[in-house]
Point group: C3
């Protein structure tokens, strides 16, 4: 409402400042020192009770849903917790939801995603969700890695030996895209070949199947239905099963919202029907 | 531009710190103490002049549009200020625009949205815009509720008696969705029935018509056109008029951008044409 | 994952506080005073090494891509650096990616975008990407302008003399939109005419061609494919060439993600085919 639209801006800034000071104060009270508190981001036990109180102070049912259907979701057999973590982190990066990102990155590492794999997911999604989204993810991951004492020795090389290229399939792809769009956006076509399919996708520290999983998660989470058919087919070529794909959609209903899941399931249905099982 | 892409990141962090300190300082100057300043987030008068100066320092015409067409928008007869607030808050949650959220939540409460209704809107949108969006909204609302001394006695119960289910309509829906998507994503189909339509939608502290209003606002604001027909029809079944629906689109032109409004109006036209008035 | 979902929220707040304090401390150490540090946001040299170290601590290949293909991108002949900056800033505003925004606004000014033009881009995008996105951009630009000592004398007037209206074309547009959507959302139709096409688009401090460039960038960056045909045609009527449009898509592959670029190139192809060169 306009009568007061500009006021909120300053009051938010001020409130943020107050919150931050309050958080510093409560952190100091709770854990005695910041150093200790930093450590507790791995254990993540000491602050749990307080945070659940927070959500109870606003929307008490959310905790019930978290303890019920969402807890159950992560245990469903159709997709491993590791895969669910790749999907969840990818969705948060695609939607630039930094608030939940540190927690989910920590959880991904707990679920067996290797630091070098998380590093490659971020690199991959700098291209598939936009450079600035990748940079935000770098900011969050930097703290996660520092807290867990993950050094550069656990990260991918800048220019490693690439996985072998499936020349025939790639030439078919490149020719088709060149024919369709070469005269509309020659730069796009060229970079897609040179930077993405003959470089990024061949980097060895993230399996093509997992790269596809992250890509499909981004497309569903960002509502980019038009790009799902190509990448869902590619994901299945790379080893993702139809059961797993269906479960990715179920998972993202919770983490990217029901509407994105329903738009995706309609596209997936068509993709599955046109593809021999 | 790449020559310096990484620099901005650190300078932003530092600039944020400077802004926060500046905000603390100016707050202390303006209101004498943080305690007083906290109080002023209800009145929202003391900082208005300063904030209008801020926008005038960048884009002077924005204040003119705020005082002109946007002020007029909120007074248009097609939708009550209360409904406009539900639409605005829902759009901000869907787009995770935390900067404006506290102000609009305060305004919603001023416009007669009950705390228990705002609580249910957040719970509802944790499912319709994604869990992390819901959590961001919890963070903002926690401060709004604390400032207004809204206690848990004004919030919905965790597990209240649910509204009666329209069994026939719900079975038609469930059967249709199962038939369409049961083999593609069985988990999605199951959770949609169990968690959404036989639980969330029946929670009594937000009227089904208002739940629909929030849902439709999210779909328009997030550009999820493919999901609008089902939910716009459901909203009208729940009592939203075509005039109100048209005015929701007008309102969201300002709050979610013209392109989303134009994509929505084309879908709404088709929905209206297929539906007897 | 739900077992601990609420914990992360508090730990993030605390971690943000720690980061901010750390940034203040490191800033003080590095540059001796905040005043000096503020100045360095123009030069942007002193912190570059540190920031590159940050990305190397997470995703070492990103720096390689920044120094390679992205550096090359900005030098491609199809679009001037000034136009690329308009496209980049518009994409960040559309996606509310505040983290990169200050840097890209500074770069835009370095590339010859006038302060009054940047001001008008923000005003324009408050309507084309939503009011709250515009307000976020105001917040960032306020600091950029203050740091560069850009005063209100360099900003557009609130109500300047408008550019002449092409009455015939505008009446054709208005009549067509009224006929299509006048009974669905009369308010949308009215505001589109009064506020957008007979006011905002005629403001003289941003050329119609540049206004179109920003609008098309927003549509591509936000994945609003359905609105691309009208505005891409309008952009070409306003002087954008097909080569430039194709290069906008190439540019946005990096800055808004590959999927948005591929959705856009398919639409652009159709638009180009229906339009005589």
């Amino acid at each position: 409402m306009p009568r007061s639209w500009p006021e909120k801006r300053r009051s938010m800034t001020r409130k943020s400042a107050i919150n931050i000071i309050a958080a510093i104060a409560s952190s100091a009270l709770a854990s005695g020192s910041w150093a200790q508190d930093r450590k507790s981001t791995i254990g993540r036990k000491s602050t749990r009770m307080q945070a659940r109180n927070d959500s109870r102070a606003v929307a008490p049912a959310l905790d019930k849903y978290a303890q019920g259907p969402i807890a159950e979701l992560w245990k469903r057999p159709g997709l491993t917790p590791r895969d669910r973590s790749i999907v969840t982190v990818s969705a948060l990066i695609a939607r630039n939801l930094a608030g939940e990102m540190a927690h989910e990155m920590n959880l991904a590492l707990d679920h067996g995603v290797k630091p070098r794999e998380l590093s490659e997911i971020i690199t991959h999604l700098a291209f598939y969700s936009g450079w600035a989204n990748g940079m935000s993810a770098v900011d969050v991951a930097r703290n996660v890695f520092a807290t867990r004492k993950i050094g550069t020795d656990q990260l991918p090389q800048v220019s490693p030996s690439l996985l072998p290229l499936n020349k025939e399939a790639e030439e078919t792809r490149a020719t088709s895209v060149e024919k369709q769009f070469g005269s509309v956006s020659p730069g796009l076509v060229q970079y897609t070949t040179d930077v993405l399919f003959r470089d990024l996708w061949l980097r060895p520290d993230l399996a093509p199947r997992d790269r596809s999983l992250a890509t499909v998660a981004v497309l569903i989470a960002a509502g980019q239905s038009a790009q799902i058919p190509y990448h869902l087919n590619r994901a299945m070529d790379n080893g993702l099963t139809q059961t797993e794909a269906g479960e990715v959609i179920t998972h993202l209903a919770f983490y990217a919202g029901w509407p994105n899941a329903f738009s995706a399931v309609a596209v997936a249905k068509e993709v599955f029907e046109r593809r021999p099982r």
